[in-house]
Symmetry: C2
Subunit: 208 residues, 2 copies
């Protein structure tokens, strides 16, 4: 299809498509003359992915580009590729520490394998420090309880990883990490409400 | 203690303390003359709470004030008070809908009691719509699996609610909801890494 059809199919303005082409997020079309090219279904799918990463997940075009480069050219080690791709998601740590003592102690306690360079280790450290700062430090009981349920959730997630190609695994890992996180946060708040309504027996205002 | 000692004890500047007094976040001290007042330990604790809500959780002073008013004057119905207090936390929905069909269907499927006015219902709807938008809609299997683990997490949370007073329950609900959310998000990313490293058997780069 011509680029004008690509605009029509996706609803993405021509200037934006040209910008994605220049930045390498969208692969070039097949040139048919010095000034024209044709595009296929994989361009439509790629534009949907760019929109998912930028408009829905909220990444900058630069961060979306990092993910897309990893989808297009996964490194030989898929484990490292997945780690780098997920690190393109917020939260971003501006102050990288040499050590993450709280996160390390917690991960050792729950017996998980982890790469100390992985962005989530720093995120975990910062979140644990914040809990201490407000006077609600993670207890060992809470850590153990959370860990077993979180592992159950992660098993559901990992069960859905597509096996076709490393690129599709990277795409699923990034989108799935980002998209199901707010779902889980909302579900937790709703579960609190369900439990609170049952415990407080405030039936008159809470029942459907 | 004099206000100068309160500044020293908490490290919060005098101008900020005066601002919190004016805005009603900090309760007045006991007047000892027309221009002087003395403050107690409850002022120190309150300033720590204000700092937790604003600096650690990241609320605006206005949103922190909403939480503090609910702590100081909980409504007769604790269930409603808790819902309003947790609604002071992000994410905020700027476009309130009349109906949340995806959230409603999901909550009915998993059999939870919920108040349709509760902010988390709208958050759940928006998160479910985002999953659809990126081509990863919540399947019933995922919903059921998530729901049972999230309920397990929520039971741990609810088990920690202090019973001394409605105000302390409100404080715990707001801080605990906010503070443990990023911990759970980081733990999920780390659990993915643990499972991926085991499944991919990429032992050379992933083992500690």
């Amino acid at each position: 299809m011509r680029v004008s059809e690509l605009v029509e199919r996706t609803g993405i303005p021509l200037a934006t498509i040209k910008y994605y082409l220049r930045e390498g997020l969208l692969m070039p079309g097949t040139a048919t003359s010095a000034t024209q090219a044709v595009y296929g279904e994989h361009h439509v799918r790629r534009l949907a992915l760019i929109r998912a990463l930028t408009e829905v997940v909220g990444l900058t075009v630069q961060k979306a580009g990092e993910v897309i480069r990893l989808i297009d050219s996964p490194e030989p080690d898929l484990f490292e590729t997945l780690g780098k791709a997920v690190a393109a998601l917020p939260p971003y740590l501006d102050d990288l520490a040499d050590d993450y003592p709280r996160a390390r102690a917690a991960l050792e306690r729950i017996g998980q394998v982890y790469d100390p360079e992985y962005a989530a280790v720093g995120q975990f450290e910062r979140a644990l420090a914040a809990a201490e700062a407000v006077g609600l430090p993670m207890s060992e009981e809470r850590l153990d309880g959370y860990a077993s349920h979180v592992m159950g959730i992660a098993e559901i997630d990992i069960g859905g990883v597509p096996a076709e190609s490393p690129g599709s695994a990277v795409e699923y890992a990034v989108l799935g990490t980002a998209i199901y996180e707010p779902i889980l946060a909302a579900m937790r708040r709703l579960a609190h409400q369900d439990l609170a309504s049952r415990r407080l027996a405030a039936g008159s205002t809470s029942e459907q």
